[in-house]
Assembly symmetry: C2
Homo-oligomer: 367 residues x 2
Amino acid sequence: MDPRTREHAETLVDWSARIEAGDDVVVSVAEDAHDLGVAVAAALGERGANVVTTYGSAELDRAYVDAHDSDFDADPDHELALYEHADAVLRLGGGRNTAESAGVPANKRRARDEATRGVREARLDTDWVSTVHPTRSLAQQAGMSYADYREFVYDAVLRDWSALAAEMDRLKQLFDGGETVRLVNEGSDLTMRIDGRTAVNSCASVAYDSHNLPSGEVFTAPHATAGHVTFDVPMTVRGEPVRDARLTFEDGEVTAVDAAQGESVIREMVDTDDGSRRLGELGVGMNRGIDRVTDNILFDEKMGGTVHLALGRAYDANLPDGESGNDSAVHVDLITDMRGDSRLEIDGEVVQANGVFRWEEGFEPPA
Amino acid sequence: MDPRTREHAETLVDWSARIEAGDDVVVSVAEDAHDLGVAVAAALGERGANVVTTYGSAELDRAYVDAHDSDFDADPDHELALYEHADAVLRLGGGRNTAESAGVPANKRRARDEATRGVREARLDTDWVSTVHPTRSLAQQAGMSYADYREFVYDAVLRDWSALAAEMDRLKQLFDGGETVRLVNEGSDLTMRIDGRTAVNSCASVAYDSHNLPSGEVFTAPHATAGHVTFDVPMTVRGEPVRDARLTFEDGEVTAVDAAQGESVIREMVDTDDGSRRLGELGVGMNRGIDRVTDNILFDEKMGGTVHLALGRAYDANLPDGESGNDSAVHVDLITDMRGDSRLEIDGEVVQANGVFRWEEGFEPPA
């Protein structure tokens, strides 16, 4: 076994999920994530935690859904009981075919999502963490060789997380004390208000309200957006390639959409409901271990030197207790690259220029 | 996918486990049983059952146990809750290495078995069924090519089970009405009492108290055993090859042991406790789809034309309500071949000669 697989497992169990002796843990192992599963099982055994291992097979799931008549039972007892009694759920993604769920009719998918809402809530109520094992199918999606992709994943995952958490706290403090953000790059000049919101220091640990490994972003819930922004990082949205989508905002709402490719999918998304015309998230990627786009949002949105904005639903963690933010059935992240001629300002002060934070070496304030 | 894999799945779901719409089913998928898992998921989806899929990986389990300090928590909440709320548990065996658990210290194995007794009882309290997917590691254990082994498994599994159940009922009725059984073959002349016991028609369905697929045996709990028996079907017992073990009984107890190979493991087993010196099971193999030994007790003991006897624990299903039969920490099946010059008598009447039942074509009563 690659020794980094063991390091990955220990990072997941200790830094991310904070597992202790006696914890009841569910580990979901995707089809090709077996090696990481073995390493995680060893780490959990060593810590004296208790394990139920589920098989996260997209192929089994697809076969089940295809054969079902769509009249799904609500929250099956045994599944609900499993998650209601679990302290933590570790999802080891990385299957054999990232397109395995392509072509499931939207109404069937929706029927199942609705029927299993209670199970999902029980799962999200645990100390859950999602990660991926580097598999050949993810390498293929990234357009990379298997060997190169493994380097990429471990560079992203095996960070000095507590040092990164301290660095990200700087940006969180600036966001928490700030009122407006301005984002300027070659295709963008956008202002958003962030007053009254709390930023999340998403450093890949449940102790920080962060549930992805890797992570490495600071995000908040903006409002009153105005101006325009171009998402020049290529993405796949609902199975469609999207290139250089450009959105214009007035009074917080999208007023114009165009794109070099995939304009129709962006329009469809924007037109979903009232909330999908507004932003739910402003996130700043700060993971310098991620230096290229791999068409996997778990990695892309954390890339150091990028900023992402999500149309749709906002996260409760960003909002004052009891206040609901932007509500929507969708939450779709789109990414803009700040590594060219760019700046990010909070209340008129430049905190990042050309993708470099003002506390980083090489920072040069714009003229 | 081999179309027989789908037939296997449908036999398991319909004939064996009697799954109905709304049933909460746990499916355990071994490392290399993925294809059968997909077929079972489709069958369960079609019937409108609900599924939690666990990953039955011997390698994960071994890694967990090796890393653990042996002070196992008793019956973890989440695992207990899963099985307590399940209607059925389908175990799809067939991993990558049948020796994966070799070398776990006996006291560690025992500590874990004891800690998880409640989980095991909850699982056995469901409509559980164990089967195996034909895998390369099982083919290797059987000393067969992968292609030949798949033929072998499907011949054993894809029977006309309701016809076999009807045939097996004949023997069950004879056992239930009988008082003594005598078994005679080249190396054996053994008598046992079976009065007051109820035979189980084990035809691979929970509707018949039968939890293995394949099955195909009729078994009861004998007592007052006298005479000698030679187990000429080669077996592996506790990792040791055993050949031509011969046991002598007086008043129900073993009084002499010898064997051409593996005598010490048989002695060790016999000497475990009081109950291990007595028989707990007399079983008659009636599955004519199984025509060779494959060193896998799930198949070997069901082979048509063989009889097996187990030293140790008896099954409650064979005993009058409230009565406990032979009690022991062990239950080890040993097999004798009846296809040579042999006979099986109930109360002095020959019911099988030379491996052929008296209702089968080719039956010739001994001179």
